[in-house]
């Protein structure tokens, strides 16, 4: 079996938002819609203040609450763990948006352009099927599928890898098959201390955050 997952090494992220920009470019999302965004977290009080940049988005959960609540079956989970939305079935009720604990879903009810009027590139890449329905990160499923069809390895070959991972300037983001013990993500998870967001909710996110080396004494 295959379980696509993403890993973010929080020690590496510098908050440059290149992943956000590349996602927006790859998926032509309108202003205000960021399927991949980076949180700027400041924790503690002076002088013991820590700052972290945290890439977030759809966590492609094992048990996605957005899928269970969807009344139309527009939201589905593939056998490889990628959670998808059928834009032709979605009625735009936004139930999934309030069911998602990761605020990963967006609904834009009217066209939004970066500079008010529609620019040439926006006109060319306009996709009305995504308007007034729920949208979210797809792990660039089209790239993954097209790459697999030509024998490429997602997470290794850039043509088959999500745009945000390709664009990351610090190699914070990694993508790969969690069920393959030799994959990059499996090795990263094995070699480092990690957590997943809101794990107490039982959603089983497919997005892992590394925060320390596994072979070092715990720092916290």
């Amino acid at each position: 079996m295959t379980r696509w997952a993403m890993v973010a090494d929080l020690r590496r992220c510098v908050g440059c938002q290149t992943c956000t920009a590349s996602c927006r470019h790859a998926n032509a999302t309108p202003p205000g819609v960021q399927w991949r965004r980076v949180l700027d977290v400041e924790q503690g009080e002076y002088p013991n203040v820590h700052r972290a940049f945290v890439p977030v988005g759809c966590q492609h959960c094992d048990d996605p609450p957005c899928m269970d609540v969807c009344p139309t079956t527009a939201t589905r989970k593939r056998a490889d763990g990628i959670v998808t939305i059928d834009y032709d079935l979605c009625i735009g009720c936004a139930y999934c948006a309030v069911a998602c604990p990761y605020q990963a879903r967006y609904k834009t009810t009217r066209p939004v352009n970066a500079y008010g009027r529609e620019m040439e590139n926006e006109r060319k890449r306009r996709d009305d099927s995504k308007r007034a329905v729920a949208t979210k990160c797809t792990f660039c499923v089209d790239r993954v599928d097209a790459g697999l069809a030509t024998g490429l390895v997602p997470g290794v070959d850039p043509e088959a890898t999500p745009a945000c991972v390709n664009a990351c300037i610090t190699q914070t983001l990694a993508f790969g098959d969690l069920d393959d013990p030799a994959s990059n993500v499996s090795r990263l998870i094995a070699d480092n201390r990690h957590f997943r967001l809101h794990e107490e909710l039982g959603t089983g996110p497919g997005f892992y955050y590394l925060w320390d080396a596994a072979d070092k004494p715990a720092a916290e």
Partner: protein
């Protein structure tokens, strides 16, 4: 550099108020709860005749009004029939199916077909329960996903319907003393459900949600419970015309209080939980 007290808006780690569902979604819970409760109470009152049919129709109309409200929130209303596709796991789909089945059951009950009232009663209860579970399934909102929200919404719906039943009492004349006592008991159960809910969510919801819920809760306890209870008690000692007026007022304030709590719950207490990190990244030399 200063940071806003509510965090970083929609891009930060602190909880912020959801904007996906607004008063239109609240209208579904208000109309559906009132309508379902009214059907339940009308069937239990075991009245007959034109008033009985009119009350059942009003209940159905309120359910329809709630569904109409939520249809205004749909991004793609022309595809609304897709809502029936996933009753296997979605409480919204189950709510839609319950509402469709409720129509013939209520019509048959209003027409006096024997045995239909049991189906109408059961389906109205199922509909109200579906609404409550619908909200509880919204895992992204701590104030909604608490299991204690289910009894709160169910009993609030029944109270709101009962309240409307008593508002119409001067016309249908079926507001017996036993129904008034049942109404009073439901008022007490609802406030107990509220207090239990409020206690259970205390440690999990954002300060903004707490403030909103506390404001609505105070109103529910005073205007939505104590006042109608006092009015119903006073009605027991009053002449029949005055008693009808007192129970009507009690029903109205109890129903409005329930509606206000639901409106607050959806539109003002709907904060997500933000992004709390269990660990911060360890960088540099460790000490």
């Amino acid at each position: 550099m200063s940071y806003p007290p509510q965090g970083y808006g929609t891009y930060g780690p602190d909880p912020w108020r959801q904007t996906s569902w607004d008063a239109r979604a609240a209208g579904n819970f208000i109309g559906g709860g009132m309508g379902g409760g009214l059907i339940v109470f009308t069937v239990l009152a075991d009245a007959s005749g034109a008033a009985h049919a009119a009350l059942l129709s009003a209940g159905l109309a309120l359910v329809g009004f709630g569904l109409f409200c939520v249809s205004l929130e749909l991004g793609r209303p022309l595809r609304a029939l897709n809502v029936f596709r996933n009753p296997r796991t979605s409480w919204m789909a189950r709510e839609a199916w319950a509402s469709v089945l409720l129509v013939p059951a209520v019509v048959a009950t209003a027409a006096g077909i024997p045995g239909a009232s049991s189906f109408a009663l059961a389906l109205a209860l199922v509909f109200v329960c579906c609404q409550a579970r619908l909200l509880q399934a919204a895992k992204g909102i701590p104030a909604w996903r608490a299991p204690a929200v289910v009894p709160l919404l169910v009993f609030s719906g029944l109270i709101e319907g009962a309240g409307l039943f008593f508002v119409a009492a001067p016309w249908h004349g079926a507001a017996t003393r036993s129904l008034q006592i049942a109404f009073g008991a439901l008022l007490v159960i609802r406030v107990v459900a509220w207090l239990g809910y409020r206690r259970r969510v205390a440690g999990t919801i954002a300060p903004g949600a707490k403030a909103a819920l506390d404001g609505a809760g105070g109103m529910l306890i005073v205007a939505g419970t104590a006042l109608p209870l006092a009015l119903v008690a006073a009605a027991g000692f009053a002449a029949s015309d005055v008693a009808l007026a007192l129970t009507g007022i009690a029903g109205l304030v109890a129903a409005l209080a329930g509606a206000f709590v639901k409106l607050t719950l959806i539109t003002r207490a709907g904060f997500n939980q933000g992004f709390a990190l269990p660990h911060l990244p360890v960088r540099g030399a460790r000490t």
